[in-house]
Amino acid sequence: MRTAFFLPSGDLSNETLAENYNDPKWSATKIYRKTGIRSRHVVKDELVSDLAVGAAERLFSEYGIDRSTVDFLLLCTQSPDYFLPTTACLVQDRLGLPTSIGALDFNLGCSGFVYGLSLAQGLLSTGAASKIMMIMAETYTRHIHPMDKSTRTIFGDGAAATLLDGDDAARIGKFFLGTDGSGGPNLIVPAGGMARPRSAETSKEETDEGGNIRSLDNLYMNGPEIFSFTLRAVPEMVRKTLEKNNLAGEDIDLYVFHQANRFILENLRERLEIPEERFYIDVEETGNTVSATIPIALRNALDKGLIGEGSKVLVAGFGVGYSWGATVLCL
């Protein structure tokens, strides 16, 4: 699977965070111990389209792809440049892709890559597209209040671009998908959409019991409930995905889950009794880049030689929505 990623140059280390928070409970060492993250790449004033273009250009140059052969662009983001027009349309223009292509955004977070694969497989199998550029691009830090420790310690920005053609579609297995919108309020930017437009009222900062500051314009995450949701949903999803693909747990060469943070991943690994050497954890330098975590992890695992031609990889995304999904890739 041809995939490349692009990270913004801004670097946010645990040391910088600890200095800002000046709270012994949030020292640099403690942040690392609790999250497994040392630093995150964050945008200064770049837009999601800038990151998307960066990732796509890398994909073209690293794999020597002729851009005129791309005939569909799928872009997943929850921090688009505008309400409208569609970010994918702007990216088509900036990349100099043909005007004869299809392009659309879809709005998902941590499950976005897996859902994107299912959309791509559908478009390829019907012949609506023959070569798809799929981009996961996210600047969640733009939604986050700098003094909200619960989210700022975890999330980073980034984008990943993946190229999918008919041969790739044949290597994507059967999907297990899940949705539970009743969990929506647990990971949300309450204001800014039509339900609650931004106003002086929504920009008022409040301090919660954990000493985190945020307004209704910022990202809110109910950490304990999100964690509990992953424990409820993910193990069952993994078992059912294996079942649907007629595979046993030991048939999988590498499990690549959404890289939420090391703590959640370790809990899931233990719960599913997956040996460490077949379970990928890679959050140290990038943090949680939402929909981009899985393709970034895949590329890093390929570069490290952990997987290669013919490897079976189980990918699983889960989070905001709630939305979750998994499949098996045969590389």
Binding site: S150, N222, P224, E225, S228, L231, R232, N267
Partner: protein, 70 residues
Amino acid sequence: MEEKLALIAEALDAEKELIKQHAVLEELEEWDSMGIIAVISMLDKKYKVQLKADQIKALKTVNDILAYMR
């Protein structure tokens, strides 16, 4: 009982003396989102219990946690 209280103290990274059956969780400095997550993790690992949002909200005292440790 002592063992269970020790498990809770360990999860919360709190002094053992503070973790008594009737201790009010909100009064413990360690009962923040990270502490709550550590307790949820302990209940999942040791007792195969996954709490839902309203069950997490309903945890008021150490006894409420003990109720899931069976």
